[in-house]
């Protein structure tokens, strides 16, 4: 009993300590190992690499002149004024979905030959991708949070599915859906339209849609979690005081959702800023991003330049995160209870179904089917067809490999088993880590925002660089005195790496809800003698359960979908996962890899439903 008490009293600090230890080994050491390359040359500290990158117009565009000669303020101001005088912003109407007249205002910046550089372009496409993801994700969150219909829960569980798909699968799915001979054109063909070269017309638009495919579900997921914990009593109070439904929504609901929406937008921006395979696969080299260059530098073993680019990328992401977190912590103090809003039936009767709002929902549903279901369905279709029609031989390959494969080959079942095991283990490690970081930082004000921003480091560090750091720092081992080497590989290392990548999602799902909790609730629990841990467990966690479930689902998804560190830490052993198997089966024939991708899709879909159902019980 005494031991339990002791444990209970120190549970928070112990978890915090363990979190710090895991982060030190699995994040700071590997990333540090690579980043040192950027500032050390031949044993001496140098800023030469930064100078080289920052003064290269290829990377930073017009800013290169400023970095080259920061003191010539007069000259820079002069050229800025001259440039501004020649700038014109026009909004042109584009039709990114050709054939269907959906006009989308496309901001066109008419500038006198300005070079944005790789960083500028990367940020530009990330902004557009974020806007698209929010625009596509919010309606989904609205429908899922406010309406009741058959399969709502399952659909909510599956929103996160696109998140786990390997880049090559998304690329193949997108071409199969939107290509000239793709499903969409075949459908349009039945009504006498097309075919339209959707992808060739505007590669940037397709890349942005692909980014929305990945990230709109994320926005939706985070927002649904917040929406479901909106206290309806506040809405009712506003209504009873005479506010119209619209007014009540704007003044009461929106402020409670905004932190979640912005969280989704922030994560999307960071993700798409670091985007790598999708831009080249669908857009081509013309749309290369900073991360593409980092990958190239790493392949050329030019670590100094790679690390420099990665540090700049990280600084930008962290600065943005910090700015957001300052905003988030300023939002605290909204009283919050656990009176979840009630949902209205989506299609109660035919008359309601024909109301403008319901029709808009149906319209959105169609768009969602084309963008989300289309590529995934095309993938599934591709796994059961070949040049001559329906076939089961791609799956026969998987079965045969499973039954007859040699130990050095990749066996499908081991991949499935590992993915599930690592997923569950990641969830078990990342959820406490994420919650602890949330708790430690939410009430700490400005310094909390700094710590919180630093805790977002796993998201802000280039995946390519992280992989190289793991390889050089942990797989090869760090030499210690006496001929010893410190090495971390295998299953434990994979789970730890996944947990490090995943816990920021738990934190970002939990923090906005935790911030909004009335601090008085915790204070009274504490005043009544509860330990900090008990107050957390009995008071705060039940109130933010929807955020924790959302975070847990993300942790699971991150683990399932993670590729680069898994493949490095798995080495030649039998700790590979489903995405790694997909990549390994990819040869001159695509069938086996696509079949494995389909297995990944189904196994993951089933597990998300389970995660949500099990999690749902704790939501109450």
């Amino acid at each position: 009993m005494a031991a339990y008490r002791w444990f209970e009293r120190h549970a928070l600090s112990l978890t915090a300590l363990v979190t710090a230890a895991v982060l030190a080994v699995m994040l700071y050491v590997p990333v540090g190992v690579v980043f040192v390359n950027a500032v050390v040359d031949d044993g001496a500290v140098t800023l030469a690499f930064f100078r080289a990158v920052l003064t290269d117009p290829f990377y930073v565009g017009v800013l290169a002149e400023v970095f080259a000669d920061p003191l010539a303020v007069g000259t820079h101001l002069e050229s800025l004024v001259g440039w501004l005088a020649a700038v014109s912003i026009s909004v042109s109407v584009e039709y990114p979905i050709p054939g269907i007249a959906v006009p989308i205002p496309w901001p066109v910046l008419e500038t006198p030959g300005v070079r944005t550089g790789l960083f500028g372009f990367t940020a530009y496409q990330a902004v557009l991708s974020t806007i698209a993801s929010v625009a596509l994700g919010l309606p989904a969150a609205y429908v899922l949070a406010n309406y009741e219909f058959r399969g709502r829960r399952t659909l909510r569980s599956l929103t996160i599915l696109p998140f786990v798909l390997p880049g090559i699968m998304v690329a193949v799915g997108f071409y199969a859906m939107f290509g000239e001979a793709g499903t969409l054109n075949q459908l349009l063909g039945t009504v006498g339209l097309g075919p339209y070269p959707f992808i060739e017309w505007n590669p940037l638009a397709i890349v942005i849609v692909a980014h929305a495919f990945y990230n709109a579900p994320l926005v939706a997921r985070v927002t649904v979690a917040a929406w479901e914990s909106v206290d309806v009593r506040t809405v009712e109070t506003a209504r009873s005081l005479g506010a119209s439904p619209r007014r009540a929504f704007r003044d009461v609901v929106v402020p409670q959702l905004l932190p979640a929406v912005l969280t989704g937008a922030l994560l999307t921006f960071i993700f798409t800023f670091m985007t790598f395979p999708i831009v080249l696969a669908l857009g081509g080299l013309q749309l290369a991003t900073v991360e593409v260059w980092i990958y190239d530098r790493v392949r050329q073993l030019a670590y100094a330049e790679a690390a420099t680019l990665a540090i700049l990328e990280t600084i930008l992401s962290l600065a943005l995160t910090y700015a957001y977190l300052r905003y988030e912590s300023a939002q605290s103090g909204l009283a919050r209870g656990a009176t979840a809003p009630s949902r209205t039936p989506l299609f109660p009767d035919l008359r309601t179904a024909l109301s403008p709002r319901r029709l808009a929902i149906v319209g959105y549903g169609l768009v969602a089917v084309v963008i989300f279901v289309g590529p995934m369905a095309s993938l599934v279709l591709g796994s059961v067809t070949d040049g001559s029609g329906l076939t089961g031989r791609h799956y026969a390959f998987l079965l045969e490999r499973q039954l007859e494969g040699a130990s050095y080959q990749t066996l499908p079942w081991i991949a499935v088993r590992n993915s599930l095991l690592f997923g569950v283990a990641t969830l078990a490690v990342a959820v406490p880590m994420g919650v602890v970081v949330s708790v430690v930082t939410t009430r700490a004000g400005r310094s909390g925002a700094i710590v919180d921003a630093v805790a977002m480091l796993p998201l802000a560090v280039s995946g390519v660089v992280f992989g190289i750091g793991l390889l050089q720092g942990l797989v090869f081992g760090i030499p210690l005195p006496g001929g010893w080497r410190f090495q971390v590989t295998g299953a434990v290392a994979i789970v730890a790496a996944h947990a490090v990548a995943a816990y920021p999602f738990v934190t970002r799902n939990v923090s906005p809800l935790l911030t909004n909790l009335d601090p008085a609730l915790v204070e009274s629990a504490r005043a009544l003698g509860a330990s900090r841990y008990r107050a957390l467990r009995d008071v705060e966690l039940p109130l933010v359960a929807s955020g924790i479930i959302a975070g847990a689902a993300f942790a699971f998804a991150i683990s399932i979908g993670e590729f680069s560190s898994t493949v490095i830490l798995a080495g030649g052993g039998d700790t590979y996962t489903m995405p790694v198997a997909v990549e390994r089966y990819l040869g001159r024939r695509s069938g086996p890899a696509i079949a494995m991708g389909t297995v990944l899709l189904f196994v993951t879909a089933a597990s998300f439903v389970v995660v949500d159902r099990v999690g749902g019980r704790f939501e109450g």
Partner: protein
Amino acid sequence: MKRRTFVGAVGGSTLAGVAGCLTRDGGDEQGNGTEDGESDSETPDPEPENPDLEGELQVATYESMVDGDNPAGPWLKEAFEAAYPDAELNWTVPSEGVNQYINRAQQNAGIEADVYLGLNVDDLVRIDDTLDDGGLFRQLNVDRIDRAERIRDGLDMGDPHGRVLAYDTGYISLVYDETVVDAPETLDDLTEPAYEDALLAQNAQSSDPGRAFLLWTIDAYGEDGYLEYWRALDDNGVRVLDDWSESYYGSYMNEERPMVVSYSTDQVFASAEGYDMSRHQIAFPDGQGYANPEGMGIFEGASEVDLAYEFLDFALSSDAQAEIAQRNVQFPAVESQHVELDEEFDQYAHEPSEAVTVGYDELRGNLDGWVEEWAREFAGR
């Protein structure tokens, strides 16, 4: 309670993890035998009286050698072990390819593999640009590899340090849809209006065929002229996608474009998959194709040197050459009288009348620059 289990599990696994994290270097800092820079005149690795043909041979290679659809790797392992009953062949697939071993050598982290199967000339250049000249692999004593003389002329990989032997080769060519475009006669044709928005290429930074095609244009237009040619291609609407897989499975197979930079063995797969052959025609502009010979070498620090030499010789045997060629769909490295291939392979695998390769000497010190200049041309904005 649940939380406690969580915390316990986290703490426990971290401790367990760390406990197994310390290893002791075996003291075999692989520095012995690396000083052969000046001993080029002597024969390296003199043939022993009684070669040691017992033990485990570690062969590093790439994924599709062991994990693809009917790859040659499993056959090689079985046949080699049958031929050398006291030996065991173990495959290992490093996640970063040769880079992983270059990294390891840089950090003195020890290399367990004996043989690398799947080196190309670029890899040698990168090794020598990063490590000491002639590093990572041993200079081969070709006298110990009897079948080395079977290798065709033109598949000499040009390594001044004699570290590699070719075991197969592929040709980069154009694959096109004859119902949409005609075969281009020359590379220049590709800049003509007839081929507007027709060609798909791959990023030379990350893709082997992409880089091969770039080097082909450098061979054709010189290092002063290739960028201009690519500007013309760009004006004519060439699309440069990431990798062969994305460009082929994604774009080409979904009929986005009628022509793609690919391999001259494409019809072998197309026929096996039952694809419409009119979409899988092979073009060799200027009668050329870019040859990408794949080589094998023995690591400097190899512990099973004798077995490694036997393996290299074995890989050039008639049976092995036929199996490697047909299973991996590449061309054999040996002269045709030493290898018998299925009729179907002969029918569908096409060879250009002239093979182009940019050799070691020209690549050395230039490759990175060429690729980067080219990539900046496309990505710069």
